[in-house]
Amino acid sequence: MTVRALADRWRGLTVARRRQILAPVLLGVGILFPLVTSNAGNVDAAANAFTYVLLALGLNIVVGFAGLLDLGYAAFFAIGAYGYGIAASGQLRPEWSNLWAPLEWAGQVSRLAMPGQPATVQFHFSFWPMLAVSAIICAIFGMLFGAPTLRLRGDYLAIVTLGFGEIVPVVARNWEGLTNGAQGLGGIRTPKLFGFDFGFSPYPYYFLGLALAAVGVWISIRLQESRVGRAWMAIREDELAAGAMGVNHVHYKLLAFAMGAAVGGLGGTFYVAKLTTATPDMFTFPVSVMVLVMVVLGGLGSIRGVVLAALFVAFLQSVILQDLTQYVHVLGRVVGSPFLQRVELITSLELIFGLILVLMMIFRREGLWPAVRRVSALTREQQAAAPARGAAVKLSWAHPPVAGGSAHPLLQLERLSKQFGGLSAASDINLTVHAGELVSIIGPNGSGKTTLFNLITGLIRPDAGNIRFDGQDIAGRPSHEIVAHGVARTFQNIRLFNNLSVLENLLVGEHVRLEASVLGAIFRPPRVRAEERRAASSALEVLEIFGNRLLPRLDHPVYGLSYANRRRTEIARAIMTRPKLLLLDEPAAGMNPVETLELMDLIKALRDLGITVILIEHKLDVVMDVSDRVVVLDHGVKIAEGAPAQVRSDERVIEAYLGRRRRTA
């Protein structure tokens, strides 16, 4: 077979199949490398490179997945390192008490008795459990440092993390009892496995590092392609819309900080066990920047990108610059330049980091190896095709109302009021919407329609009044909880997750109907697998509602969709939350008459499936056509309510839209 044929076959494989082939190949190369190279120095450098890989993967979770720029990431490297360092060295010698006995029995500490002095405890915790313990300690610190930043936006968050990143090494330097100060911890024990001591040979560390890096990659991939990863990316793309889709941003941001810190902690533990010492200046700002360089170079959010970039930076540091220095020295001797003979290129490593950051930001912000998204272009026919009107709309989870059943009130607004400064956006609004109704809200610009949606979905708190939904009081609840109760919405100015595909946008919508937690996402037990399959088929079902409008564009990033298709995607995403009540804010804006009719058919079909709909719309002809009831707002006051025909002839409505008739004497 030719190379081209092989490449074509490779391209034809699914992602999962490619991984099944790539994983053993890469692991095999990794395992064979130290056997092939005869140089122990190379193996040592490669073992250090795996530390970089772990750090880059950890920071990628925080910055790449969740979009939280952490400039103090080295702090977690330090905490992990000191965590193991203190537990495996003679630094702390607390007085012996019998509380230590179980640990002594487990072989983790021993009792040290000197004649004439109280007995003390000698720590020699084993490396393996400490890997987990360090990761957990780091995760806790990750949440601790992350918690104050929850309300801050991009660069302010970065500064606060930088502050913590500065404080940690200072504490490590000054808290001498715990850390031995500037001299650092010494005599840290090396790991043992079944009686075999890792000692000071680089080979066992190389294999351990390889295993840890592989675990890091595995965790990253599993997280990225899970409910958790989608929630992170949703927050990264649009925090407010993520909340409206049921993602609790406090929970998921803290989770990102914790997971990122835990992976960094693994790196720190491994690094210190290999080095057997830890000093405060190993964890300063330039280290945080170095890890950031790896992530930026590889591509934010791209797992293979950051791994390759981490390996490249390590290679640059330990091989390329060293070799180049030799060449430059030779050149210096040839041309007789004493400067060239003395120069050590490794000292310009940070200069190179600086150049990488600036050049990448100006010329290639997506990174050198971004997470690719292969999209096949649509044919002309596919693009032009319009679905036939009147196709059957099915949703397996919906409960169409039984004919003749009595409708219960689903949403009740009582004396709802909201002021913005001196402007009354909602005053004393009373409204009851029954299950299965299609109610339209109309009114001139600035009459408080969207404010009403924002109040119902929890984006803003009412100043006064009650909102009861399905028997529960939801006024002032956070929006992600309200979604879970069964209220979904779209936004007047479309708020999609722009860099995610149509399918991914829909899957975020399913967030509240799925249950996988972090552990579920990583280990993917049968329950989670089934859930993911269900979510995917449910997304396809919802997409089918829109006929061939969205289905062919399943894998397209939504920023490339037409305006009408983005509106449809947003509606589809809202339907994915399995709402009892769907709030549509000007869904037909920007659609042509044919598309508008198609959309109105769809909205009626959703109502017939038992989904209650409240519609804000300016195209009055379609409103009058589809609505069961019309509510008119003006200056935050409900001025009319009733059947379309009745509202159309209401004096006050005409007045609100067209102005007051001149009074004739």
């Binding site: 502050g163 200069l351 050049l359």
Partner: protein, 309 residues
């Protein structure tokens, strides 16, 4: 000296330090006010300024070994030193804006800030490559006069620095409040697009802001050199972060806030060093930074809300 005298002495020291932080903080605040960018390269422009000062002085024949000057030669050298250094760092700021920041100015998110971190690293390491890692002595041209006030001592150095800082700040305040350029700056800070539609050349305003901010950082760097008598490639980061804390504390985007914040941080450093211990100074200052960011992001004077709507 009594405990009160010690404190009083630290207040005087803190005020002098505070002026340096204030000059640096002004650069942060002006740039943030106009383009909402946290400019890390400001740290290293400040650091580079001390080396520019060294070069200027050696060209003028003043070396670390020279005796201090008095009278007309002192005033002459000071004027030349400040003028040339400030012009050079100002141009450096302009260069940074034109080459590195303009291409990313309209990119949303953290890309512009990451760029400034890159620039900071480049500058620091260029200085490191040129002058080496060891600290350089900075000529002490100011005579070592001192006066006693109560139990504390005021040095001539402190008086000069205080006076120069005041002159610069009054000049800046005049520029921002009373000139057409100042009006253009304030308009751009409010809404760059609207300013552009009113015929303001926003690019020019941004460049001039970088020039002014970096020139003030140049002045601040001379303060550092004259006050501490040394410099090194590493001084920018810590001092810069303290100055940044000053800007945030005063309310980022607010010019009087930056001065107030600078003085506050200067006092915190000298009094905190006296009362708690020098080794904890950075922990105190970064804790202030974090606390203000989290609890009162508008700072003390709260000129501008730092979150976008």
């Amino acid at each position: 000296m009594s405990a009160f005298d010690v404190l009083f002495q630290q207040v005087i020291n803190g005020l002098a330090l505070g002026m340096m932080y204030a000059l640096l903080a002004l650069g942060f605040t002006m740039v943030y006010g106009i383009i909402e960018l946290i400019n890390f390269s400001h740290f290293s422009v400040f650091m580079t300024g001390t080396f520019v000062g060294l070069v200027v002085l050696s060209l003028l024949g003043v070396t670390p070994g020279s005796a201090s000057l008095t009278g007309v030669p002192l005033v002459g050298i000071l004027v030349v030193l400040f003028a040339v250094t400030m012009a050079t760092t100002g141009l450096l700021g302009v260069l940074i804006e034109r080459i590195c920041l303009r291409p990313v100015r309209h990119v949303s998110g953290t890309a512009p800030m990451i760029t400034t971190i890159g620039i900071a690293f480049i500058l620091i390491n260029l200085v490191l490559l040129t002058w080496g890692p060891q600290a350089q002595r900075f000529p002490q041209l100011l005579p070592n006069w001192r006066w006693t006030i109560g139990g504390a001592e005021v040095t001539f150095k402190q008086v000069v620095l205080f006076a120069v800082a005041l002159i610069l700040m009054i000049g800046l305040s005049h520029l921002v409040r009373r000139t057409t350029l100042g009006k253009a700056m304030r308009a751009t800070a409010q809404d760059a697009d609207a300013a552009r539609m009113m015929g303001i050349d926003v690019d020019r305003v941004v460049v001039l802001t970088f020039f002014l901010g970096s020139a003030l950082a140049g002045a601040g760097s001379l303060f550092f050199g004259l006050y501490y008598g040394f410099t090194g490639y590493y001084i920018g980061y810590t001092t810069g972060l303290r100055a940044f804390t000053s800007a945030v504390l005063g309310g980022i985007g607010s010019i009087p806030g930056a001065v107030l914040g600078g003085v506050f941080i200067g006092l915190t450093q000298s009094l905190g060093g006296q009362l708690i211990g020098v080794k904890w100074t950075d922990v105190i200052i970064f804790s202030i930074l974090i606390f203000v960011m989290v609890c009162r992001p508008n700072g003390l004077l709260g000129a501008q809300t730092p979150r976008r709507a």
